[in-house]
Symmetry: C2
């Protein structure tokens, strides 16, 4: 079990340290190797995803990823910015299947801005395609408008696209996941406007024929954004493209009010995966020992489940996290106003103790 | 004041009838002409936006629009579907500036799925560009993948695009609107990934120089979807492109829990405008006299304000609507569970009486 540890920027190093501690406490043999990524890699090597980091990632079975980004890199040209490391890893390793659960822990129901009855028991799995769409489509760039009223003006353009096999493989992933859950898949697109979405919908219908035990429905992305506010518990698995998935998975995680709790996994077809918390690098609290390490610890659990097939170990970590929550431990982000909170390290220690 | 009345499908005719009643009660001279649009136009003339409807719209100063769409048209090829009428009107009349307020009426605070303290007093104006982006970009369609691992496979594709003058004109609209409000504009893009968004952001910064009294900030679309859940009251004016605006404006309106209350306006540079409720055609309750006509009535008020410069008349309608709400009148969609509700016509009559 070869794991690349890419802690990154901001709170990345602190939260990853706790996840590593938890992994080491399992009594298994992991081969862990660290490398720099994001702004930290830019500072050290002049690039957010240096060749040595990329090779390490390629050679590993899984990547434990912290977070990248800091305001101090805002002035860099885009290809050198920290977040390009994530896009690069996704592309180079073919990590096309992103799993983003939005789960509301019963102990944290109050943290949500939504009414408890609307979100209590929330458990959505967003399956986002991560290698295609307008994120990577070519051509893209700047050009001159060729005709019409704005002829000659500068225009920015990008290509949105999906091919049949790309939709099919993410569709399969979503249907398989639904079989482990409530057997309902909502495919989100904008097929009333986009050609890309028309193909998307067509292929999803085709894929669904191999899963007669799973119910497929379709929803336009604008309606999905509404239903996530109105009746979020009506969803089971949501499958969608890269761009819509970016928006909806963030919206869904914020419904819980505790994004510091939410892990994510990005997998390729060899079960190689990148595991990272759903939240960002929070440079404002970096280095202060305040960050919540649970999303990263739960990401390590996802790694054990998805890349190493070790449901037993994943389950142990998840149970330990539930236990520390039940015991009332809270980092500042999930603490009730006025109540005491613990730091990053104490939280990690508590999970280790609960193991 | 020449107004094209396009009632459309589903609840369209019922709600538009009430708005017309309110307009007629103002004691002004409006020249109203009706035409079919959407599914109703397809049934009558074989096209959702027949030439006669389009010419009427062109020749009018404003369009009072109901809603279009019904499941029974789902099997039609896309170019004949009801919603193509909206896209056609936007394009043909150059209606590039869409105003979508998300306002929570204090009387209806309970209707929201969000906690009252999070949404009470909510008043966001979303300014959505409506003539560009991936909605209309060329080329688009189906083709074969040219190389890479999916070579030869069928792919759907669309072109996302914005030119400088297009961004500039919607930017101006947003900054002007902010001057009538809290003087804060949040421009939403995805400039960490998209070339189109990079140009968008650049031009917004340029436009902002003409509005030193208005504060401009930038937000990625995924973050905007999160902040709308976490702290919706932190926004004043949001300006964004066609696709992101589609998603975020619907999300924002659902935050109020009373989308039956929310009007919208779509304007071109000659102040010609299309005015329609933010909600859809609700075929499930069509013809039953249950629909809430207030969003359409408030759309008529927007028409008086934006296309006819009659703030006085707009204000009268808005005050009348506030009054009926204060009097406790509720259609079913905004009634508290177990409380009595009134029908479409009674609500319209009450607004007329309150005038
Ligand atoms: C950092 C950015 C490029 C990235 C994305 O848009 O995919 C992020 O928002 C995410 O969702 O992982
Ligand atoms: C019906 C559809 C084409 C339209 C859009 O996507 O613009 C609608 O969702 C809207 O927001 O007015």
């Amino acid at each position: 079990m070869k794991i690349a540890v890419l802690a990154g920027d901001g709170i990345g190093p602190e939260i990853v340290a706790e996840a590593v501690k938890v992994l080491n406490a399992l009594g298994e043999r992991f081969e862990l190797s660290e490398a720099k990524v994001g702004g930290a890699a830019y500072d050290a090597h002049g690039h957010p995803l240096p060749p040595e980091t990329l090779s390490l990632a390629r050679e590993s079975d899984a990547i434990l990823f912290g977070a990248v980004g800091d305001w101090k890199y805002d002035a860099l040209e885009r290809r050198l910015r920290p977040e390009q490391a994530i896009l690069g890893l996704r592309r180079e390793l073919g990590l096309f299947a992103n799993f983003r659960p939005a789960i509301l822990y019963p102990q944290l129901a109050d943290a949500s801005t939504l009414k408890p009855e609307v979100v209590s028991g929330l458990d959505i799995l967003i399956v986002r395609e991560l290698n295609g769409d307008v994120y990577f489509g070519q051509p893209r760039g700047l050009r001159e408008v060729e005709d019409g009223p704005f002829k000659g003006a500068r225009e920015g353009f990008d290509t949105m696209r999906y091919s049949e096999p790309e939709v099919r493989r993410i569709g399969r992933v979503a249907f398989e996941a639904a079989r482990q859950r409530q057997r309902r898949v909502t495919s989100v697109d904008k097929s009333n406007v986009l050609e890309t979405s028309q193909l998307w919908r067509e292929v999803m219908i085709e894929v669904s024929k191999d899963y007669p035990d799973v119910e497929l429905s379709h929803m336009y992305v604008d309606n999905a954004a509404m239903q996530l506010v109105r009746a979020p518990k009506s969803f089971d698995v949501v499958v969608t493209g890269n761009l819509f998935g970016d928006i909806l998975s963030d919206q869904a995680s914020m419904l819980t009010g505790s994004i510091g709790m939410l892990p994510s996994a990005s997998l390729n077809d060899r079960k190689q995966g990148l595991y990272e918390p759903s939240h960002g690098s929070a440079p404002d609290i970096a280095g202060k020992g305040l960050a919540n390490p649970l999303a990263t610890i739960l990401s390590a659990a996802m790694m054990l489940r998805y890349s190493f097939g070790r449901n037993d170990l994943a389950g142990r970590i998840e149970a330990a996290v539930e236990r520390v929550l039940a015991d009332g431990l809270r980092t500042a982000d999930i603490a009730e106003a006025g109540k005491a909170s613990v730091g990053t390290r104490e939280m990690g220690d508590a999970v280790v103790a609960a193991l």
